[in-house]
């Protein structure tokens, strides 16, 4: 018996209070190794974003389709390549039109009549009568799914008995197992722990990607083709052919479709630091991504079609009017007049954007933190140390000095072949944001990267201290900012300029001192060397 109680009344005794934790240190997660993207894919749920990593990209997004059928398929190549080049995860929202339809895979009477033998079929709506079960696969495979079920032999006194429990398997069209559920057709069934193992209850506890409803069948009869084992000792199953339960509804995306997808990516609980355009050439989609960047303070890296001439590339960016955005520094344009081998092997040689590759390298860099948790974000992914890791690269056009000047003025970062010590390579030649400034830190991608990271860290701590007493909240925020900015300076993010590397003020708002706190900070980030002037003078 313990020598204390948790709540002491009037009696004599010892009350032990719950452990108080003042040791917590604010830490960052690895969301800066993750990017978000809106893509057309052949697999993936359409109702909300989902996470994809290099281990499940083919299962989650499908095996990719040729860009010959539609250039929208470039985004799949981007995601697959990025996950293999350094990105930890991609948060994907699948693009669909309003005509996309998720259907039910049903085992029952197709015409709904009691006398009709049960078969597998696809139904637009959830069935009501004369079916055994219906499966709603929310991962929306264009290529369809297959379903099989089996009931174990159940004997009582040596006599076979009907079984209410079935094993339900869901496969993809290539017979890769996606899900296996073992549950009951009886709504009152419970497992040994008293928990419902009714198939719909069980499935809802295991995944939100599949919904199952059970019809009026309560058990599998002993003469069923799915009951027990055959003469060879193999489990008897009733299997479907491929059931195409998702209608993509075409790819004629309207602005409203893009807006709907953007909104889902904005409000997802998944966290990510970068937004990829997936090589889209659509100003309508780019405009929505730019809005997402503004709303979420995340960096958007987008491609300009490498086939375009310099003049057309500049026009493409200027018509988007991104410089007018108050967060133009979050938008980064890349122009790679390069053809290369498809890193996924789906296509032949192709024009492939490099913005998502740049994001992948950012993610890889961000994984390498110092002891205070700071990644070397003051080193932009550009120049000699970050070559484009692709094969069969062929540069279509070598811009002149004047064209390079025009690209820089249009805030476009070219990806070109450059000669360095140790040999030439294809590199990100510049690291400019779309901010329409000439001599300001806001023009540098490295500064945008560090600045958004600082904002993210500070707002996260601010969220944590909401609803605390004002004095305590101010004390905690002051303590955090002091140590955080010192660590940022130690990491080389902040340097001394005309004044101190950093300054901050935390105080109650003058006009609303009871419930509003003001946090302001002034930071001098380190810059990036973009130009070097070298002069040799001969002397006597």
């Amino acid at each position: 018996m313990q020598p204390f109680t948790r709540q002491l009344g009037a009696e004599s005794g010892v009350q032990l209070n719950p452990l108080r934790d003042n040791s917590e240190i604010p830490t960052a997660d690895n969301s800066d190794q993750v990017f978000g993207i809106l893509i057309r894919a052949t697999r993936g749920r359409i109702d909300k974003p989902f996470a994809v990593d290099r281990g499940n990209v083919l299962k989650r997004l499908g095996r990719g389709e040729s860009m010959r059928s539609t250039s929208l398929n470039e985004a799949w190549v981007h995601v697959t390549e990025a996950l293999n080049q350094g990105a930890y995860q991609a948060i994907v929202q699948r693009l669909v039109t309003t005509t996309a339809k998720v259907k039910w895979a049903v085992y029952g009477a197709e015409d709904g009549l009691a006398a009709t033998p049960y078969t597998y079929f696809v139904s637009d709506v959830e069935p009501e009568d004369n079916f055994m079960f219906a499966v709603n696969h929310l991962e929306c495979y264009n290529d369809g799914i297959k379903i099989r079920f089996h009931a174990e032999q159940k004997a009582n006194g040596g006599v076979d008995q009907p079984n209410d429990k079935i094993t339900l398997n869901v496969y993809d069209s290539s017979d890769e197992l996606l899900y296996e559920f073992y549950g009951s057709l009886n709504p009152d069934s419970k497992n040994d722990y008293g928990v419902s193992d009714y198939l719909p209850d069980l499935v809802s506890r295991l995944t939100d990607s599949v919904e199952i409803t059970v019809g009026n069948t309560r058990e599998i009869a002993i003469d069923s083709l799915a009951y027990g084992y055959n003469n060879a000792g193999h489990a008897k199953k009733i299997a479907s052919d491929v059931l195409v339960c998702f209608e993509e509804g075409g790819t004629g995306y309207t602005t409203l479709d893009y807006m709907a997808a953007r909104s889902k990516l904005q409000f997802t609980p998944f966290n990510y630091a970068y937004i990829s355009s997936g090589g889209t050439q659509s100003p309508a989609l780019l405009a929505q991504l730019a809005q997402l960047a503004f709303d979420t303070n995340r960096q958007l890296k987008f491609d300009i079609d490498g086939k375009l001439t310099i003049e057309a590339a500049i026009a493409f960016v200027e018509q988007l009017n991104m410089g007018a955005s108050p967060t133009a520094h979050l938008m980064h344009a890349f122009y790679a007049p390069l053809k290369c081998d498809d890193p996924t092997g789906i296509n032949g040689k192709l024009w492939l954007g490099t913005a998502t590759f740049n994001i992948a390298r950012c993610c890889l860099r961000n994984a390498q933190t110092n002891t205070k948790g700071f990644a070397p974000k003051n080193f932009p992914i550009a120049g000699r140390e970050h070559p484009l890791q692709r094969t069969g690269i062929k540069q279509n056009h070598t811009p002149t000095d004047q064209e390079l000047n025009a690209l820089a003025r249009a805030k476009i970062n070219p990806v070109l072949y450059e000669i360095y010590s140790g040999g030439g390579r294809y590199v990100f030649r510049d690291s400019l944001t779309c901010a329409l400034v000439e001599s300001s830190l806001k023009k540098l991608i490295a500064v945008a990267d560090m600045s958004t990271t600082v904002d993210d860290a500070v707002t996260r701590v601010a969220k944590d201290i909401l609803q605390l007493p004002m004095e305590i909240a101010i004390k905690r925020m002051n303590a955090f900012l002091g140590s955080y900015f010192e660590a940022a300076q130690a990491a080389g993010w902040l340097v001394r300029g005309e004044g101190d590397p950093f300054r901050y003020i935390v105080e109650p708002a003058a006009n609303k001192p009871y419930d509003t706190m003001q946090v302001s900070y002034w930071l001098r980030f380190d810059g990036t060397v973009r130009q070097i002037f070298v002069t040799q003078t001969l002397t006597r």
């Binding site: 075409g250 893009y258 405009a287 057309a312 026009a315 200027e318 018509q319």
Partner: protein, 124 residues
Amino acid sequence: MAKFIIGAPSITGIDANDLVNEFFADSTFPLTIRLQNHLPRNISLPEINVFLKPFDDKAEAKIKSLDKLHRLVSSIEQIAELNKHEAAITVEDLTLVSASKPEPAKPAKVTPVVAPVVEHVVGV
């Protein structure tokens, strides 16, 4: 032959995709369209490999499917919106419509989107 001008929907109050549905839903693809730029700036549409100089430059493009036309029109509409232009680009169907084909219903619906420089031409 269908012909209409796409402008910023916030100004015109018209969704250009509705016009596409009205004029092109029954069209046979691929079809050829002509684009005319009314903006005082270059327009680059890599989706169909078209680059238009300012002020009435024209170019023709082959559109493979209705879906692609919807995406293209959405893009043009967005450019018009970002630049707040009432009349940005004219889209003209160069495919001859057969005589037996019924005229699209409710042609008056598109009237508000027409800029003074071009008229809607519905049918041949």
